[in-house]
Subunit: 245 residues, 2 copies
Amino acid sequence: MGAGMTMAAAGTGGVKALAFDVFGTVVDWRSSIIRDGKSLGKAKGLSVDWAKFADRWRAGYGPAMNRVRKGELGWTKIDDLHRMILDDLLVEFGIKGLSEEEKVHLNEVWHRLDPWPDSVAGLTRLKKKFLIATLSNGNTSLLANMAKWGKLPWDVVLSGEMAKHYKPDREVYLMAADYLSCKPGELMMVAAHKGDLQAARKAGLKTAYVPRPLENGPGGKAEAPDAEFDVVAKDFVALAVGLGA
Amino acid sequence: MGAGMTMAAAGTGGVKALAFDVFGTVVDWRSSIIRDGKSLGKAKGLSVDWAKFADRWRAGYGPAMNRVRKGELGWTKIDDLHRMILDDLLVEFGIKGLSEEEKVHLNEVWHRLDPWPDSVAGLTRLKKKFLIATLSNGNTSLLANMAKWGKLPWDVVLSGEMAKHYKPDREVYLMAADYLSCKPGELMMVAAHKGDLQAARKAGLKTAYVPRPLENGPGGKAEAPDAEFDVVAKDFVALAVGLGA
């Protein structure tokens, strides 16, 4: 058992594959958006609170997915949901004078999110023992471009898009187990978000909680782990050590 | 333009992603099966013509997919089709005395197929310029395990399984374009088989023909390229050179 890791009584010996939440768990969306925003602001002479901008963009994502769940919108890739939210934010923040090309580039900041400092080292180690896959609401091409950007060594890129459902819908977790040829209990969901893990657990998956207290900015606090998660690890390297990878 | 490559008049400048057929195009299934068969035969004292065995196994694959297409079988992963064919072949070749574990291991030889000598070098180079994806009837976990075995650097593993169709059904090619966020004409199918490329072309994809004259054994001959393919390259390194990667 590695430092920074606790494991519940339930064994994790039968785990064959790991599925990772991405936004917030593997990559630091907030500071990456702030970085690109500041760079754009400098180039275009904009005065914008980019931290607030990033938070508002992220906050628009749940309601946008719900519009699809309720049938107001047909199936929509996250790239396109991000763009709809962005178009509203440009008005809200009074950002004018961006060309279509600049808007496309700004929207694709979600493809250029930086990994947390332990992500690549931990994934590289975990990959030696397990199949490692994304399991994100981000669309496939977004996740693939992000992997190139951050050198994330995925074996498989899985997206809610492939089930035409967003997490935490049960279909997404079962789709991942199916495509990885695992029984649900042979697949472990890794996430920094309790709701994601609780839904994975209900679908029969094993669960690993990796808190990311900085996801919502400096001074943030991670939620306390749920006692029913199989594993709690402080980062991906501790997770690899704990899982014997 | 690299040596060993010809390109049709149609431009390939708009290509963003490449989708690869796998069995025969990226990996040499025949000699890999012969290798594992010989090793098993030695261990178990079997006298089997493993080249013939490999050819019969491969030959069973088209008819098995057709059973699914015709509705005789529900959707079935290639791992399971391979096993059904294998069970028949064990009888046909008089192979007795294998444990269930040994049968499972033999069936998974399709996860342990070796790349052609140029495959890894060519893909590594192509990956710098393009998104590179499998587009195979092999199931996702088979393709992921094979990538680990052969160090194939895929950005994305796409399988007919994700469309619940086998190539050359049109749905598979369009699914790949959708998940890679490409228009069909921005995606290039790379294959050693003309039928695969002709179907890709009908679905609107660009096409690259890479003949693999040794796929069916020494002394084999590649089919003459179809004049309508966008690119013909002698191997993946020549393809990379030709596409400016």
